[in-house]
Every structure is written in C-alpha cells, then in structure tokens.
C-alpha cells in the first residue's frame, strides 16, 4: 500500500504536498503539534474525507474518485477507528456498540452477536457485554471502541490519540492491545503527541505545517512484548 497525497486549501493549508506510503502490517505513529495537520491526515486515511488535490490509494483503490456511500463501504469493510473520546453510542450496551459495523454490513443477528462477543473477549471485556458506556471506566470504554474497530477485521486500524483521555495504567493496556493486533498483521496508524505512546510503534512520522518533518523507523515492538 502506498499513497501520494496533497491537499491545497485556499484558506487553511492543513496539508501541503505531503507524500507518504505505508505498507501492510506496519505500526506507524504520527506525531505533531496541534494544527500540524495530523487530524486532517487521519480523516483522509480513514476515508472520512477526501484530499482536495492529490490522491490517496488504499489497497490499490483511489479513494478520491469514490462517492460518499462507497467511502462508507470502505470504512465499513477495511478501516477500524479508535478515537480519543471513545465515541461510543450512549445508553447502548457494549455488545451493541461492538456489533455496529456488522449491523451495517448486513450480517444476521446471530453472526453479529457471536463476532461481537469474541471481539469483546479479545479486549478482555468478557462478561461486560450488557454494560452501557456510563457503567464502564474510561479504559474499558476505549477497549469497547477497539473491539468495535476490530470486529469487522479491518486491514487498517486508525487510532486518533487513543490514550489521550486515559491514565497511565489504562494507556498501557490499550497500547498492548494495539501492539498485539499489529503483530497479527493488522496495519495500525496511531496519532499521538506522547512520546512513550509513540514508542510502541515501529515507525515514527512527525508532521509540521502540513508536511512531513521526519520519518524514521524505531524499535517499538520491544515494548509491546514486554507488556
């Protein structure tokens, strides 16, 4: 997988001729100060947005030419999201939150349930299927969000500051899960401004003013196996 990507906005140039390619199975941490354009980059990587100029190829598909519904389908099939603010649907059980992508994929209730239960088990929330977000701690909520992201077995997992609202202990747990998923072959792209979180990744890209400032390979996996 590779991508060449440029956005030129008349007013705010969030990304200025940024070019980047990420291979399958990589664990990339994208860092940068606020306003550097990393969120914009994530939105485009996640097919929530399209570049105003340039191209983004995801698994060989040029997403720039896709209609909103086709983007939705790609998000549903190939991308898993984890957000800083968890973004679970309120007053809805962990199980149902996890089922959501499968629901839009049109699976039967039984399949949805089985896969969602497995995904929750995977993130260590076995037995909490019926809890609503308010009944869960921040770390647990984020784990539900990860379960929701991985239930659809996406090829790309996008985590936008997944530990931003969590304490050190929970952050560590979350990062361990992400590392484990990466080791199973899932491409993980992580946005963060915490260096110890970025240290889990095997590649670190620093963005400044919409351009790549540095792009280097690190030895992130060591931490993950230790945890």
């Amino acid at each position: 997988m590779w991508k060449v990507y440029r956005v030129g906005d008349v007013e705010v140039q969030a990304l200025r001729g940024l070019s980047l390619s990420i291979d399958q199975g990589e664990f990339v941490a994208i860092m940068g100060s606020s306003g550097s354009g990393k969120s914009t980059l994530m939105n485009i990587l996640g097919c929530l947005d399209q570049p105003s100029r340039g191209h983004y190829w995801l698994n060989g598909i040029d997403t720039g030419s896709l209609r909103p519904d086709q983007l939705a389908e790609i998000r549903n099939q190939q991308i898993g999201f984890v957000f800083q603010s968890f973004n679970l649907i309120p007053r809805t059980s962990a199980l149902e939150n996890t089922q959501l992508p499968l629901f839009y994929r049109g699976l039967s209730v039984r399949e949805q349930r089985a896969l969602a239960v497995a995904a929750l088990q995977r993130v260590g929330l076995h037995g909490r299927e019926g809890h609503s977000p308010t009944q869960l701690s921040g770390g647990q909520q984020q784990r539900v969000a990860i379960a929701r992201a991985l239930v659809a077995t996406p090829s790309l997992l996008l985590a936008d500051e997944p530990t931003g609202n969590l304490d050190t202990q929970s952050s560590r747990e979350i990062m361990d899960i992400l590392s484990a998923l990466n080791q199973e072959g899932m491409t993980v792209i992580l946005v963060t401004h915490e260096h110890d979180v970025a240290a889990f990744a095997s590649r670190e890209i620093i963005i400044k003013d919409g351009q790549i400032q540095s792009d280097r390979v690190t030895k992130g996996h060591v931490h993950a196996t230790e945890g």
Partner: protein
C-alpha cells in the same frame, strides 16, 4: 433484517425519551381520535336519518295539492282542493310502475274519551294507506273494505293519543271515543314510529276510514277531494321514472298547459332525506377538516422533535457513519423513527377515537357507528404524516458531514 433491527433501535430510542415521545404523539393521537370520533358520529347520524326515511317507506311518492293563489296572495301548502280520489284512481290506471295507491285527508280536532281529551291530527285514509306508509299495528286489526264502503265508525289510534286519553293500564281496544261528537270504536293501535325528520311526533295521530272522515267526522268542501295522495313503487330505483309519469298524468288531468306551473307538489322520501344527509355530510366534512389540521399540527410536532433529535444525536450519527453507515442507513433510521411515532400515535388515536364515540353514545345518546374505512384511512394517514414530516429531518441527518458530526459537542 436491517429494517427490523432499525425498528427495534427506533423503538428503544423512543423508549428512552418517553415523555418527549408521548408529547410528540399527542398531536397525532388527537388528530386520529378526532377523525374516528367525528366520522363515527357522522355515520351514526346518517344511519339514523336513513332509518327515519325507511320508517316512512323509502319507495313512497307523495302528491299534495299546491297552494291557492288569489290575486297576489299565496295560501298555505295544500290549501287548494284540487286533488281528488279520482286523480288517485287515474294514476293507478295510467302509471303501471305504481304498486299501490292511497290517499288521505287530515284535520286537527279534539278527541275525547271519558273525562280526558286531546287535540290531535285525525287522518281519513284509504285502506291501502297504512300499508304504503309501512305503518304496522301493535294491536287490533286494520280497516276492511266493508268499513270503507259503509263508512264504519271505527278508529285506529297512535300511541301518543292512547297515552293521552286513556288511563295507564286501561285497554283501548274496543273502547268508544268521540271525535267532533261522533262516537267511534277503537279497533287498533299503531306501533310507535317516533319523531319524524322534522321533529314532529308521528304517533300523535288518529286514523279513520276515508269515507267515515269525509261523510261523518271531518266533513269536506267538495266530495272526493283529498289532502294528499300516496303511491308506492315496487323498487326504490323506479321512483324517478314514476314521479315523472305521475307529473304527466296529473298535468293532463288538470289541463295544465305548456309553461304553466303544476297545481300539485310531488315529493319522495328519498329527496327529503337527502337534504338531511347533506347537512350531516357538511358537518362531517367540516369536522374532517379540523381533524386534518390537527394531524398536520401533529406532523409538524414530529418534524420538530426529530430535528431536535438529529441535532442531539449528531455525534451518534457521526459514529455510525464512521463505522460504515451509508446515507440510506441514517435516513432509514430517522424515517422509521418518524413512522413509528406515526404508527403508535395512530393506534392510540384509534383507541381514543373509538372510546370517544362510545362515550358520545352513552352520555349524549347520539348514535355512533365505528367505520372501518375511517379507522383504516386515519391509520394510513398518520403513518404517511409521520413519513412525510420525517423526510426532512432524516435527509438532514443523512447529509451530515461525518467529520463535523464526530467533532460535534
């Protein structure tokens, strides 16, 4: 599958906001209930009118003499004495559509029994009259041809007259009454008919043979003149044609030429009933309009609450979009929510409407008929209202930008 799950989701969301959903429903509930109740009352009134028409006999044609005209002064209806028994006999001969022909004369006079008396209309009638008017006897027997030929001193009383001049429990059959000082024997009592379309008491009546009335009790200006001729056709459908034929025969007999107006009036019960029906239909239409306005207001209520809901759940919509919900999915979710409001509102409305109609019958005593058509139409209408007013909010939700929706606080 998807739709079913969406319905479940919609129901759960409504359940979370029970009070809000309930208040939203109120508009639809009132609208539907109003439609059902109004149509029920309207139908009931219509049926009552039809029953009254039937009580006189639906296939009856009445012919009355027209008013006299002396100079520019027009007398009361029936003040002319131009209609005669001979006219009736002629009609019987010349209009084959007619199955029965009868006639009557009428005068209001005093009826005395013992020390009680009352003033009531006394009808002198032909033998066929009671049958044409479909007036049955509750006791005793009708007049015979012999009574008619011999101008027998016999009378049949209406229930109101019986109540007026007889002591409670006293047997009227065989009793002697006096009308204009002529003693008459009661040979029958009419079964009650109730009020006429105009509200007059149809049971306040005494019926005696025409010949008796003419020669012995009421008297007449010209022998053979009648107050009205009553004929009946075999079928209701023949009324129109028979009416026209009667007019031709009568005009020929009375030597009315060209453009001159008739000197008689022809009426059918159906015509009279139609006026009443129109009145009740106007009322129904008016109430339907009110009900529709109420449904409209209810629909706007649904739209309003859904718009609030879309704003409130912007973030949720963003999440759903992020995990792969297409526009149609989001649209469906809100549409189904709107329709669910419509359906639930409709069902509650139908229940309330039926209840209101029943209460009207119990409290006000108005007859009501629950019309299945109205129930079905009101239900469909409430669903359509939900759907229609759900379209805009649903579309608004579906067109949200996922990034902005996700960031929405």
């Amino acid at each position: 599958m998807f739709i079913w799950l969406t319905i479940v989701t919609a129901l759960r969301i409504l359940q979370r906001n029970q009070l809000r959903a309930g208040l939203t429903l109120l508009g639809i509930v009132i609208g539907v209930a109003a439609v059902i109740a109004m149509v029920s009352i309207g139908e009931g009134a219509k049926q009552a009118v039809q029953k009254q028409i039937a009580s006189i006999g639906t296939n009856v044609i009445m012919i009355w003499p027209s008013a006299t005209r002396v100079g520019g002064v027009r007398g009361a209806q029936g003040s002319a004495v131009t209609l005669t028994v001979a006219d009736a006999m002629e009609l019987k001969k010349k209009v084959p559509l007619l199955t029965e022909t009868g006639w009557s004369m009428k005068n209001v006079t005093q009826i005395v029994h013992g020390n009680r008396n009352c003033n009531s209309p006394v009808y002198g009638v032909s033998t066929s009259y009671l049958h044409i008017r479909d007036w049955r006897l509750s006791s005793g027997g009708p007049f015979t041809q012999t009574d008619m030929d011999s101008a027998a001193l016999v009378a049949i009383l209406g229930q109101t007259v019986v109540n007026e001049i007889f002591e409670p429990g006293e047997e009227p059959l065989g009793a002697l009454i006096r009308i204009n000082n002529v003693p008459l024997r009661v040979i029958g009592v009419l079964s009650p008919k109730g009020q006429s379309l105009y509200g007059s008491d149809q049971d306040d009546v005494v019926v005696i043979p025409f010949s008796t009335a003419e020669r012995k009790v009421l008297g007449t200006m010209f022998l053979g003149s009648v107050g009205g001729v009553y004929v009946s056709t075999g079928r209701v459908d023949d009324l129109q044609e028979a009416t026209e034929e009667i007019r031709q025969v009568m005009r020929a007999r009375h030597r009315i030429k060209g453009e001159e107006p008739d000197d008689f009036t022809i009426r059918t019960q159906v015509e009279i009933g139609m006026v009443q029906e129109e009145t009740s239909e106007t009322l129904t239409v008016m109430l339907m309009v009110i009900a529709c306005v109420s449904l409209l207001v209810g629909g706007i209520g649904i739209m309003n609450i859904l718009l609030v809901s879309v704003t409130e759940r912007t973030r949720e919509i963003g999440i759903r979009m992020a995990v792969g919900a297409k526009r149609v999915h989001i649209m469906m979710q809100f549409l189904i929510e709107a329709m669910t409001l419509g359906v639930v509102g409709g069902l509650i409305g139908i229940a309330c409407g039926i209840l209101a109609a029943r209460l009207t019958t119990i409290i006000a005593g108005w007859p009501t008929i629950i019309s299945t058509d109205a129930v079905v139409v009101a239900f469909i209408f409430s669903v359509v209202v939900g759907l229609f007013f759900g379209l805009y909010p649903a579309n608004k939700a579906a067109r949200l930008n996922p990034i902005e929706a996700l960031r929405y606080e």
